[in-house]
């Protein structure tokens, strides 16, 4: 009849109103700075670099593939060299401009050495627009433990892969 649909709808909303005082299901907002939702494992934001033992010895070999593949070209890599000018397999500087990065994750996919991964960090507000958002090597490098913590599934898979690679000389079993 005339208006019964309206009444039905109003019943729903008033139930929501009262239930919001008793049930958590009816008050789904999270009070962000105080309480946080834990990030989902596959969540990815900005890239970071992984090192195994020490920050001086990252997995990155400065091959420059990620910098070439990066669609907005936000990665700049300078290869390190020793005293005689012979290039070394590590970056001298590794810069990512977070103000340009578009979180596509292509760097992670193309990296042949599993050195760059997407991080969960999202509170990145800074006061400076240019220099503060330009992340240098020191801010980008994070231990493998961090990676294990935020993305355990991927970390175990990749650790197993790397471990297999180091034992490579032995021929593969089966097949």
């Amino acid at each position: 009849m005339f208006g019964f649909g309206v009444l039905k709808g109003m019943l729903v909303t008033i139930q929501n109103f009262f239930a919001s005082y008793f049930s958590k299901d009816h008050l789904t907002t999270v009070q962000y700075p105080e309480e946080r939702l834990s990030a989902k494992e596959r969540y990815r934001n900005f890239p970071f670099l992984v090192y195994d033992q020490a920050p001086e010895d990252p997995r990155c070999v400065a091959c420059d593939i990620c910098a070439k593949e990066c669609p907005p070209k936000c990665i700049t890599i300078v290869r390190d060299s020793d005293a005689e000018g012979k290039p070394l397999k590590r970056p001298k500087s590794f810069d990512i401009d977070y103000s340009i990065c578009m979180n596509c994750g292509i760097c992670e996919e193309v990296c042949p050495f599993d050195a760059i991964f997407m991080d969960h960090e999202f509170e990145l507000a800074e006061y400076g627009r240019f220099e503060d958002l330009m992340y240098h090597k020191d801010r980008l490098l994070k231990p493998n433990d961090h990676f294990k913590k935020i993305r355990p599934t991927d970390a175990t898979r990749i650790d197993a892969k790397l471990a297999a690679k180091t034992q490579k000389p032995a021929p593969p079993v089966g097949n």
Binding site: M1, F2, T13, N16, L27
Partner: protein, 380 residues
């Protein structure tokens, strides 16, 4: 307790009377009433915004503002500061004078209407012999200023909003006036005080058949008069940006907001005065009863807002002219029958008339009602 504020004012006047001439005492008496209203109106408005945001938030499973102060109690002040410091933009082609005048002038009737609201026993600023008429007349002037604002902004969305508002307010004013007529017939006076006194001892008009219908009619048309959801076509955000206040910012916008909220408070107060017994009620002091009743009605308005989508223009007009108006007329007839017969019979007769009216109008409006939708792909 009931006469707390009355006694307070009285003692101030007696104190002033010791050393001031008579005219000054009268002036002070007027000033006290005016100041009380001028403070009460905007403060009510400020906290209604908070209440609305909290209530609608809870309906939508959110908290609502809760950061500024305990439970967000200082949020209105923060909003006020924000509004005051915002840039005041006047469009280049606008009629500057009218663009400035409209938001200022729209607050005046909203404040003046408070003068006839009986907040409690002896607590009415002016007991006008034409109180209800005064209220209806002043609330009808709001239309002009909305239209002036719309026209002066020189913006097509504003103008569309203004035209909608005029059409809507002119249409809903008629059932609004007619829905008060039964009460005026029964009481025999326009005075709001007399209306409240006629309802003493649980003789609330809402408890009679015609009163129930009249209450619903008056309340719905009142909601339409103050442009609140689901009747907020003049400012329908999704269709015409913000309607008549598209081009307003800062304090001028705040004034429109203030007028809207003060109007929704006064409409609730007047509805509870006319149909819900005003400040009559057991145990609690009168002014508290009136506040409880009007806030309950305001919560219903907010409840509407949290629930209902906006009307379509033709539905809006059809609802006013094809449903509310004939129902209001038949309701007057029911009230006449109620007056004409003795006690037990009249309730029965007027209930029958009201029920018949509803039934007939339901069937008469049936072709206009939305059909039950069947989604073909959902079958099977």
């Amino acid at each position: 307790m009931d006469q707390l504020f009355v006694n307070l004012k009285h003692s101030i006047l007696i104190f002033a009377g010791n050393f001031l001439p008579e005219w000054a005492v009268i002036l002070i008496s007027i000033l006290i009433s005016v100041t009380a209203i001028a403070v009460f109106g905007p403060v009510t408005m400020m906290y209604l915004t908070l209440l609305e945001r909290k209530f609608v938030g809870r309906i939508q499973n959110r908290f609502g503002p809760n950061r500024v102060g305990k439970w967000g109690l200082l949020q209105p002040l923060a909003d006020g500061v924000k509004m005051l410091t915002k840039e005041d933009i006047v469009p280049k082609g606008a009629d500057h004078f009218a663009h400035f005048l409209a938001p200022v002038a729209i607050v005046i009737p909203a404040l003046l209407v408070f003068a006839v609201v009986p907040f409690g026993r002896n607590m009415v600023a002016v007991d006008l012999s034409i109180g209800i008429l005064f209220f209806l007349a002043l609330s009808s002037t709001t239309t002009i200023w909305i239209f002036v604002a719309a026209w002066a902004s020189r913006n097509k969305f504003s103008l569309l909003g203004g035209l909608r508002s005029v059409a809507q307010m002119v249409s809903y004013e008629i059932p609004m006036v007619l829905s008060v007529v039964p009460v005026l017939m029964v009481v025999g006076s326009f005075s709001t005080v007399a209306i409240v006194e006629a309802q003493s001892g649980w003789n609330w008009f809402v408890l009679t058949p015609w009163g129930l219908i009249g209450f619903v009619l008056f309340f719905l048309t009142g909601v339409a008069e103050v442009n609140r959801t689901p009747f907020d076509l003049p400012e329908g955000e999704s269709e015409i940006v913000a309607g008549f206040h598209t081009e307003y910012s800062g304090m001028k916008f705040a004034l429109f907001y203030m007028a809207e909220f003060m109007n929704s408070f006064t409409i609730s107060a007047i509805v509870s005065t006319v149909y819900l017994g005003g400040w009559q009620g057991p145990w609690l002091p009168g002014w508290l009863w009136l506040l409880i009743k009007s806030y309950a009605l305001i919560l219903v308005m907010m409840w509407f807002r949290g629930t209902l989508p906006r009307f379509r223009v033709d539905q809006l007009m059809g609802f006013a002219w094809k449903f509310l108006l004939p129902l209001a007329l038949l309701n007057i007839f029911a009230a006449g029958v109620w007056l004409a017969f003795a006690r037990p019979v009249n309730y029965l007769l007027s209930a029958i008339i009201v029920a018949l009216a509803l039934f007939i109008l339901y069937f008469a409006n049936r072709p206009d009602m939305p059909k039950k939708r069947v989604y073909r792909y959902a079958v099977e």
